[in-house]
């Protein structure tokens, strides 16, 4: 694919930004453009999530951009993250735009919290409202609960335990502890602390759940050729994919298979490997969407880093920690750094490709990135030029 990420930008990650979501979006976009050495007047395309409350034209107006020739939105919550970059890459590859900014900005902790139940979820007779209506009346209405239903079945069929989930949390908090941008900077946890943390929705403890955060992240996508002439070393978009499985639902795909896998990530993985010609052994570090720990294990299996039911062995003995066989989320992920709906992970992947991360993995050439799982999702492979 002839596109690259040329710039990344972010606000600080907090629990209360103290400013509007539009301001957060504008700040992150301006930071990404400055990182790339581009001017707002260069921007002619914008992509964000359907869930973002900041219109493309509103952000463009704040930063003083000129005419836009491409704007697009990607649906399905955090599953949109890598999809925004895919849409942007398609736009620059087809000549629909030259410089496309992808952004996500929210006060997800101090404003509307996704972890809180919203009784309106099942209220509307849209296809999604009707889908929710088979679940919400029973109080099954938080992301933790939707994921816990898969986790319970996964434990049953694979023998994975809560401690195996805990090892993911310990790894992420270890990585965050040496990342000054992370909310949990210098605050690692032990497996015992994970086990002692309160139940949220059994089998998930509090420390199986990612943070809720305020903040914004933006990335600038342009053609690979142009990116080579800009300020930073480009992160080439070697492969990009969206994926939904047969019988997919938003977060409650309980009716289609054994409930111990994530078919949508399998779709994305197959596409990424086909498009790039690469395989798991070509990846030096992975950014795996870690809203809830069990899905990190299931992603490792779906993407082929290990066999079915083997992730619990794969992550033993620091397998996904820095220095392990596949360092996952060196920035600390959404469990450790911040929950910016997966966009902060894309920024970390760019840093790993540039060789500029505070938790740099040695010899990085290719980084695999995934977006929200359990929902229709997306993925990227970013590579050094």
């Amino acid at each position: 694919m002839e596109a690259a990420i040329a710039g990344i930008g972010a606000t600080e990650f907090s629990k209360e930004s103290g400013r509007s979501e539009l301001r957060l979006a504008a700040e992150a976009v301006l930071a990404a453009l400055a990182d790339a050495g581009l001017d707002p007047s260069d921007v002619d395309g914008m992509v964000t999530f359907t869930q973002d409350s900041n219109q493309e034209i509103s952000v463009a107006k704040e930063i003083g951009a000129g005419d836009l020739t491409f704007f697009s939105r990607v649906h399905y919550g955090g599953g949109a993250a890598c999809g925004t970059v895919m849409h942007a890459a398609m736009a620059v590859a087809t000549g629909m735009a030259d410089t496309v900014v992808c952004y996500r900005a929210f006060n997800e902790r101090s404003g509307r919290r996704f972890g809180q139940p919203d009784a309106r979820l099942g209220g509307e007779p849209s296809s999604q409202g009707l889908e929710m209506s088979w679940h919400v009346p029973y109080g099954l209405m938080t992301p933790a609960a939707w994921v816990a239903m898969f986790a319970q079945r996964y434990m049953h069929t694979t023998g994975a335990t809560s401690e195996d989930f805990g090892r993911v949390a310990v790894a992420m908090r270890r990585h965050a502890s040496t990342n000054p941008a992370a909310w949990f900077h210098q605050r690692p946890i032990t497996l015992a602390e994970h086990q002692e943390s309160r139940w949220i929705v059994e089998p998930l403890h509090l420390l199986d759940c990612c943070q809720e955060s305020d903040g914004a992240v933006a990335v600038v996508v342009t053609t690979a050729e142009r990116a080579r002439d800009l300020r930073q070393a480009p992160a080439l978009i070697t492969a990009a994919a969206q994926g939904a499985g047969a019988g997919q639902m938003m977060m409650t795909s309980y009716y289609r298979d054994g409930m111990d896998g994530l078919p949508e990530i399998s779709v994305v993985g197959r596409r990424l490997w086909e498009m790039s010609g690469l395989g798991p052994s070509d990846i030096q570090t992975a950014i795996l969407y870690d809203h809830f720990t069990p899905f990190v294990l299931m992603q490792l299996e779906e993407l082929g880093f290990c066999g079915r039911g083997e992730a619990r062995s794969y992550i033993q003995d620091g397998g996904i920690e820095l220095g392990g066989r596949l360092p996952v989320n060196p920035h600390g992920g959404q469990l450790g750094e911040a929950y910016i709906h997966g966009m902060n992970g894309i920024a970390e992947a760019v840093r790993q490709v540039r060789g500029s991360s505070v938790n740099q993995v040695p010899g990085v050439h290719n980084v695999l990135v995934t977006a929200g799982t359990g929902v229709p999702t997306s993925g990227l492979i970013l590579s050094a030029a």
């Binding site: 809180q116 009784a119 007779p125 009346p137 099954l140 209405m141 319970q152 929705v201 009716y255 409930m259």
Partner: protein
């Protein structure tokens, strides 16, 4: 007891005719008359001057005290039956007096009661109920009637106004059959009228044969736990934590999500046998839920 049985009992009580009670404990007397006149604000001096009781006092003379046994009455058994049938509310609706003559201080009265009619069930603003009517006649020492009263009450089933349950499902023409089934105590699974495929959750088009003709079968009501969660946090409107939600696998071959009830949280496990149960959540919504199956 059915409505017919209540009406039969009423006929029986009517057939008993009038049952005489005991004569009043005290004769008609000046102190009670004085209290009554005071309480009613009646300043007419003639009653006490002439030793006459106000006719509207008829009931006062034979009213039994709270601690004394009551005389048998054809009304009591019927009121008890109505209570037992859930018509526990009561409101007096009519009271008509007929006076034959004034009663004098020193006279002793005896009541006679007959049950006259039961009408219902009727829908009223208070709730569904029956109108029960009886007559009381007061007799003097010569068994001559001095006053009569027709008394009517509405015995009703109090309407329980429940807080609206906040977690309502959206329903449209593709899913209405399911919720209609739940109201009738049926667990309905969509069945394609063309190819016979079963499907839950339902939808407008059969994914197998693309038919839009959809019927349903009624599930046998049994299932097993395929997966489950125990919700602790955060609080969910309309629910008390912890509560269990399960993916239930039905022998018909589809899965459905619901709460597990009537079971300690710790006892729930994958593979557990369940039976459907229907729980009213408010005045409108009933949800199918799952309880452990007796083996």
């Amino acid at each position: 007891m059915t409505s017919d049985e209540l009406l039969e009992l009423a006929d029986k009580q009517i057939a008993m005719g009038e049952l005489r009670g005991s004569p009043s404990d005290d004769p008609v007397n000046a102190p009670m008359i004085r209290h009554w006149l005071d309480a009613m604000g009646n300043r007419n001096p003639l009653f006490l001057d002439k030793g006459l009781a106000p006719p509207s006092m008829a009931q006062v003379w034979t009213m039994s005290g709270v601690k004394r046994g009551k005389d048998p009455s054809p009304v009591d058994d019927l009121l008890k039956a109505l209570d037992a049938h859930g018509y526990t509310g009561v409101v007096a609706t009519n009271c008509e007096h007929t006076y034959h003559r004034y009663v004098r201080v020193g006279e002793r009265l005896t009541p006679g009661t007959r049950f006259t009619s039961l009408a219902g069930p009727k829908k009223t603003a208070m709730g569904e109920g029956y109108f029960a009517t009886w007559n009381v006649t007061w007799y003097d020492e010569d068994s001559e009637p001095v006053a009569e009263m027709m008394f009517r009450v509405l015995k009703f089933r109090p309407r329980v106004r429940r807080e609206p349950y906040p977690l309502k499902p959206a329903v449209n023409r593709d899913t209405a059959f399911f919720w209609e089934g739940v109201r009738q105590g049926e667990l309905r699974i969509q069945r394609c009228s063309s190819c016979g495929s079963l499907r839950h959750p339902p939808g407008p088009v059969c994914p197998s044969c693309h038919s839009t003709e959809q019927g349903y079968v009624v599930a046998c009501g049994e299932g097993t736990v395929y997966s489950y969660v125990v919700h602790h946090h955060p609080p969910v409107p309309g629910k008390e934590t912890p509560f269990v939600v399960a993916v239930v696998e039905l022998p018909e071959g589809v899965r459905i999500v619901g709460n597990i009830v009537d079971c300690p949280v710790e006892a729930v496990g994958i593979g557990m046998s369940l039976r459907v149960t229907y729980r009213p959540m408010d005045d409108e919504l009933i949800l199918p839920m799952w309880a452990p199956r007796e083996t």
